[in-house]
């Protein structure tokens, strides 16, 4: 993997920074053919062009003082991309990290490719191009030094921002070589490092925004201020399935600091000079609503789930072998059902966006996971070409999938166009919790057929969901390991809005599946880990249908978790096991629960992850630990229920998020296999619920089927995880 066949010359562009000297290297992230055509002409006459006319992208610049500036294009919401992306460039560049400066790039669809945060995909997607970018600049710096010293570049080496000629003891800093390097032709072939030679990648590097975050500098969308802007809040329908019948805004308009009350679509916007004045005026706003669609409650969903689980109409997602015969011939059949509620994404920074729709264009500023989509929707709504719309990204105070939707960006733009003024729309926590886009509620039925030897010969899964799309991941384990298998899904269309919530579908499916397999292993009188390993061996030796996950990688995390947790060797704790493959990566977990004088305590969770090469050990370690905490907190506590189309929980007083005293110790281990990174934003979350439920069974003999666990009959009197 060291020498790339050929770097497309058009992938890179060097430019001398006109005023200050130095090297300015643009590396193209986009790979569309159309863009390449544009660039050919540009390249023919490169150096003289002002930067903003170049159809190349993000610049890596090296100033004469040795400071290296790297733009980070993707939205940063706590996944640490703003630190990890530049680390990859700096690694191949052999830069001195202390001299690297990182800047958040604005939306630029021409320069950047996949400028979004979602699907744990940024690092896997950009890994190679970031490395090439760094390696290309390094090679040019070496060429420049070779020329100056009149030696062959092959005699040179680099270290921490310095080019060295070991034979003569000469050395020059990158800053000193930058201007000369800018005159070297862009190499067509670059040598990438061997994984074993990485110096920066794999080490713990602190977040580049630490100083700003810890001293209270304005970083987030809610902190954004523009002179003359208004603050607005929007009253949305009181329940899903309702629309506005009448609005009486007279009292609200008369309140101090209020400049306007505007009704559009199903929204009533209160526009004013300060947040508190807007908030107060909102309390005297009178809006009547009427039904326009189904008004649903959680009780309706519970009933519906049971009907749909037995419905004749289901979409078949995967079918292998002959399930009917397998279940008829089975020595033992196990059937279990599992259900989860809706969840709020509840990022700590509520939704907000700044918009200024002017005659000549639109300015958008704020936190979004999908800037390009948000701009596209604004462009469509206002009929303004996308190239007249700018979007600057702030840091995101969490996302968890909520900010993949552009509703709150579009409404800010729409409001600005209506009031013809710059405005920042702010959602309160109540708006966020009642206003939609939730993790969908889902119910599963699993069925397993065991033969007389305890081998799983048949497997059925049917998932039913409320606006959940496909409730299954039909090609995930144990598909491929069971000869007769049927995976089906049923979706119910509801006015309640749903969306991707961190580790979509698998955030609950993994619990249900791993808790179920634990029961099946138990019914087969097998150790839960051995049971899974036997299934994986079967998938390897005689696969049933396609196997779309790596059997070896899954086995490796299982074995690492078993080893680190001392699986089966501990007498004072009950251990529960879980493993899941999602978003290209593999995570196995072991939870440990102690029972002392009747007190049941979740003591520890071991997590073994294979995400390929770990880029930033500090960020990655916390990403796994945070994922486990997220999975645990939502499995234990969080619950969003509906009554007459409205959520019964409106804020953190009755929508519970996990707190410090409720988290167990969490140890994280990574498989070191040198595989190109496969993503880590989500994969640590799905396995946690299963590991905890399976440990609880070992400790107490009680099985958990529904989330949140703390609301279940089985957990009455059990204060799992409380440290006080």
């Amino acid at each position: 993997m060291t020498i790339l066949p050929k770097t497309n010359r058009r992938d890179f562009l060097k430019l001398a920074a006109a005023a200050s000297g130095g090297l300015l290297l643009g590396f193209r992230w986009s790979s569309s053919a159309a863009a390449t055509e544009d660039i050919v002409q540009v390249l023919d006459d490169t150096t003289a062009l002002p930067l903003d006319t170049i159809d190349f992208n993000s610049y890596l610049s090296i100033a004469p003082d040795g400071i290296i500036t790297i733009f980070s294009p993707n939205p940063e919401l706590g996944q640490n991309i703003k630190t990890s992306f530049p680390m990859i460039v700096a690694e191949e560049l052999d830069a001195d990290w202390a001299k690297v400066k990182v800047l958040q790039a604005p939306l630029d669809a021409k320069k950047f490719d996949r400028q979004l945060t979602g699907g744990s995909g940024a690092i896997p997607h950009s890994w190679e191009r970031l490395r090439k970018a760094g390696a290309t600049a390094r090679q040019m710096l070496m060429e420049a030094a070779a020329k100056r010293w009149n030696v062959s570049a092959s005699e040179l080496s680099t270290d921490k921002g310095i080019v060295l000629h070991v034979a003569s003891g000469r050395k020059l800093g990158y800053g000193e070589l930058a201007t000369e390097a800018s005159r070297v032709p862009v190499p067509t072939e670059v040598k990438l490092k061997e994984v074993k030679d990485f110096k920066l990648i794999g080490t713990p590097i602190r977040n580049v925004d630490n100083a700003e975050m810890f001293t209270g500098k304005p970083l987030y969308g809610l902190d954004f201020h523009r002179e003359g802007m208004f603050i607005a809040m929007i009253q949305r329908p009181a329940a899903f399935g309702m629309k506005i019948k009448s609005v009486d805004a007279a009292a609200a308009k008369a309140m101090p600091g209020i400049v306007d009350v505007v009704t559009f679509k199903n929204n009533v916007a209160i526009v004013g000079k300060s947040t508190w004045q807007v908030n107060k005026a909102r309390k005297v706003l009178k809006v009547e609503y009427e039904a326009e669609g189904a008004i649903e409650s959680t009780a309706d969903h519970d009933k519906l789930f049971k009907e749909l689980l037995n419905s004749k109409d289901a979409a078949v997602k995967r079918k292998d072998g002959d399930v009917e015969t397998a279940f008829k011939s089975a020595a033992k059949v196990i059937t279990r059902e599992y259900q989860c509620p809706f969840l709020s994404h509840a990022p700590m920074e509520p939704m907000n966006f700044f918009a200024h729709v002017r005659e000549d264009g639109v300015e958008l500023v704020g936190p979004t996971q999908t800037p390009e989509m948000a701009r596209g929707e604004v462009s469509k709504l206002l009929n303004i070409p996308a190239d007249k719309i700018t979007l600057d990204l702030t840091r995101l105070g969490g996302g968890f999938g909520r900010r993949l939707k552009a509703d709150y960006v579009v409404e800010a733009a729409e409001l600005s166009s209506l009031i013809k003024a710059p405005v920042k729309v702010i959602w309160t926590r109540e708006d966020d919790m009642t206003g939609g886009s939730y993790r969908p509620a889902v119910r599963y039925r699993f069925e397993a057929a065991l033969d007389a030897k305890g081998m799983m010969i048949g497997y059925k899964l049917r998932g039913v969901g409320i606006n959940a799309g496909n409730t299954t991941r039909e090609d995930n384990f144990p598909s491929g390991a069971v000869d007769n298998l049927l995976i089906e899904t049923v979706d119910h269309q509801s006015p309640i809005t749903t969306g991707a919530w961190r580790a979509p579908i698998t955030n609950f499916l993994a619990f249900a599946e791993q808790a179920f397999l634990d029961e099946v292993a138990s019914a087969a009188n097998q150790d839960p880990i051995q049971f899974r390993l036997a299934l994986l061996d079967k998938a390897k030796q005689s696969p049933a249908g396609a196997v779309k996950y790596s059997i070896d990688r899954m086995k490796a995390v299982i074995e690492l978790a078993a080893e680190k947790s001392g699986w089966g060797k501990k007498k004072d704790v009950a251990q529960g096991f879980s493993v899941y493959f999602s978003h290209r990566s593999y995570v196995a977990q072991v939870a440990e629960i102690s029972v002392k004088q009747g007190k049941v305590t979740l003591q520890k969770i071991y997590a073994a992850a294979d995400c390929g090469v770990v880029v930033n050990l500090s960020g990655a370690y916390q990403q796994v630990r945070g994922g486990v905490v997220d999975g645990l907190g939502h499995a234990l506590y969080s619950n969003l229920t509906f009554k007459d189309g409205a959520t019964e929980q409106k804020n953190f007083n009755n929508y519970r998020l996990i707190r410090m005293k409720e988290v167990p110790d969490i140890d994280v281990y990574f498989v070191n296999n040198g595989i190109d990174p496969t993503g880590l934003g989500e994969p640590a979350l799905p396995p946690t619920g299963g590991a905890v439920a399976n440990a609880l069974f070992k400790a107490t003999g009680k099985r958990l089927y529904n989330q949140p666990f703390t609301k279940q009959e089985e957990l009455k009197g059990v204060s799992l995880g409380e440290r006080l």
């Binding site: 916390q622 410090m660 440290r723």
Partner: protein
Amino acid sequence: MAQYKLQINGRSYEADVEADTPLLWVLRDNLGLVGTKYGCGIAQCGACTVHLNGTAVRSCSLPVSAVGTKSVTTIEGLSSTGDHPVQRAWNEVDVAQCGYCQAGQIMSASALLAKNPHPTDEQIYTAMNGNICRCGTYHRIREAIQLASTKMK
């Protein structure tokens, strides 16, 4: 509307606001001190934590009229150069993920350590129970408090 004289971060500020305006929104909207965050508005998440005469309070639920002459410290004023032992510890432990809750976490932690420089784990859990971190950085917050504890004079 009324004029309020406020002592914040060792400086005097004036704000012309309504009496029931929470200190949080005076800080953010009127004084431009946006380090103090809005998270829930009902004193449940701790993102808005500031010090009032050295005690950690939730500024989202504290009307400006109740502040009086008490001195307010926000994250911007915790230290003049960002090197309060708690801030240094937060950096060394590399606590944050999204970072949005961390100003509030730091203010709760620094109020705890000012009163009790060497807290037990239980004392840390109690003092930090009002601060939610949605990303789940709790282990690092605890570790940073323990590290800061060794740096306190």
